[in-house]
Amino acid sequence: MAALEGDQAKWDPVRRSDHPATTGDAGYPAREEAGAHVRLTDAAQGLKSLDLAVEGARCAACIQKIEGALFKMDGVKQARLNLSTGRLAVRFFGADERAGDFIEALDALGYPARPYAAETVKDAQSAEEKRLLRALGVAGFAMMNVMLLSISVWAGDGEMDLATKTLMHWISGLIALPAVAYSGAPFFGSALKSLRARQVNMDVPISLAVLLACLLSIYETAMGHGEAYFDAAVMLLFFLLIGRWLDVRLRARAGQAARDLAALQARIAHRIDADGHVKAVPAADIRPGDRLLVQPGERFAVDGIIVSGQGPVDASLVTGETAPLDLKPGGEAWSGMVNLSRPLTLEATAASADSLLAEIARLVEAGEQSRSKYVRYADLAARAYVPAVFAMAGLTLAGWLVVGGSPHTAVMNAIAVLIITCPCAMALVAPAVQVVACGRLFQDGVLVKSGDALERLADADYALFDKTGTLTEGKPALVNADAVTPEDLALAAQLARGSRHPLSRAVARAAEQALGPGAVADDVREEAGGGLSAVIQGVPLRFGSASFTGADLAADVAPAGDAALEAWLAVEGRAPVRFIFADRLREGAADAVAALRARGLPGEMLSGDRPAPVAEAAAALGLERFSAGLKPQDKIARIEALKAEGRKPLMVGDGINDAPALSAAYVSISMGSAADISRSAADLVIQGDRLDSLVRARDVARASRSRMMENFALANIYNAIAVPLAVFGLVDPLVAALAMSSSSIVVMLNALRLARA
């Protein structure tokens, strides 16, 4: 197990699996649950298909190894790896259970794979994305052809006779009108919906401008006046569709990433049937009262009560405490815990409404409702923009009538104002900036789940941190390596390598770093709540708690500090050796906290852990404000108190106990190693272990906010120039086309600057 972990560390830079809670179940359950995800694609031939998410494939050699190995297996008809998404599609003949063999083969090659629930990924958003892309294609086609005709009209100004010009306009109209009807539908639909709700959004002036431009052009062409805006209408739609498509794609991608994380965790539980058979079933099918077998290394899929078996579990994701919990028959177990050393039998209580996850899910939902009240910058702009534009058009109409213009001129100029103020650049401002910023952060290993999350991150002015797993590594590490001789460390590691207990893994890691890979002792026996024992070269060894190793009987033993965890190595004939462990701070944690403070985000630590380790960590990080022993409700209370003071708190956390706080905060970030529910509750997810990504995310968020403000300013400067022209009746189709496209292009170029800064 230790050797495999070493391999993973080398090839997977964004691994989120070093947390004991996620490494522990990498191999065994994935193998068994695979069969449940096989689909029958061709019943006549008996062809079956399976989608696997493969970690670590990066290059041609990986494709070749993976596809080649699977192709050589019996009955595999096709194996194709999508390098962009890391998805491997396998088609094969034979029993469903063969799926496990594929996963085993991939594991042996060094690519851990998990069944991927493809059906959960089909979504409305990708359909909308495709629809917009088709609309974009149609608008592009129409724009190019109409422009071809328009340019000849403009170039032939003065030479072309009216009949030819009118013919050109009719042809333009024949191309443009169907294209507008098809490509403009997304805007018209959204504008109607918003009007029905008695509100205005950006799509109202957009739809109005496009429709007015078309109607005016038809009227002018029919009357034979010879001014047509067909080119401007389709060009507007083309640019607007680019913005709309970018926006949808960003949301789809972010949503996809979030669902990928969830799909990788497709949960399987092992139910013990009435006849004593153990069967792998989806966790969703578990009913209260079902008996489940939880193997060592497996995560509890549901809440329950232990019926038989006894042993330690890792509860760090649930409670925020690093020290393993000992479970006995009758004890309560919560989903998200990881069984460490002994098989346990559990009676499920999952569906009871007062279970931990149900309670947490309720809190998360409540938090998300309050967050959805946030109004995006673009919508704020639309609220101010729409009345201003209509007022301007009304004034133009009135003004021309007052100064004695004909009703026809007055109406034409008022319509020109509405067309020229079409907020095309305005609608591009937010999506262009957000797409560039999110792409940039993605490269730095930060996943942004929604565009407005960046806006909120830029506005945040207070930082709240969870301790375990967020500022610390969330797993114990050996801290007194200097006091232990290399020989003792090597002996302890020989015992520890075969165990999943967090302290054993800490010893194995420390030995690997100091001495390199080593052997595993034969016949290691693990006693729950005690420790490990074996005989190496004829000498009996024990590694574990003080009472298990007999160290508590030795006279010269001083108790370790409250913050520390300890284990002892007893070699027969020698005094026991003490190993002290602590949850180490993440590398760069203090720098990240200081950097955030320098950027106007004073920090505070909210932890569910005991007071002593919390105070120690806070002191090391330079955080003056901290509280320990907090329950999820207490964290929410602190967030609400800050909000009541007018603060906008950022919450950084990872555990299941943090999920409600993450969704209650103004904006939230979770670590890649976090519990599923926390990752889905947070706005941003940091992949990998680097806390300096927090600072990067804040910097990019601030930069994108300034770009966005600049873009709003640019769009307004454009209006400041174009609107007077329209008011005084100086806008012709050429000016309209030029002004509209140039403002959109300037806004996009300004957004692209983010990619370089």
Binding site: Q78, T85, N145
Partner: protein
Amino acid sequence: MTAMLWLIPAALFLGALGLLAFLWSTRAGQYDDLEGAAERILMDDDGPIVDEDED
């Protein structure tokens, strides 16, 4: 001026060809795996041949 009578339909026809090609390429999943193809070209032996007719 009579040149226009066939120039405009010709331009529209060519444009429509481009549009159809674009619509086909999005529908056929040409953009689903943007990185894989660049790497696959580097494989120098006759690896497993994949059925192209399957989706």
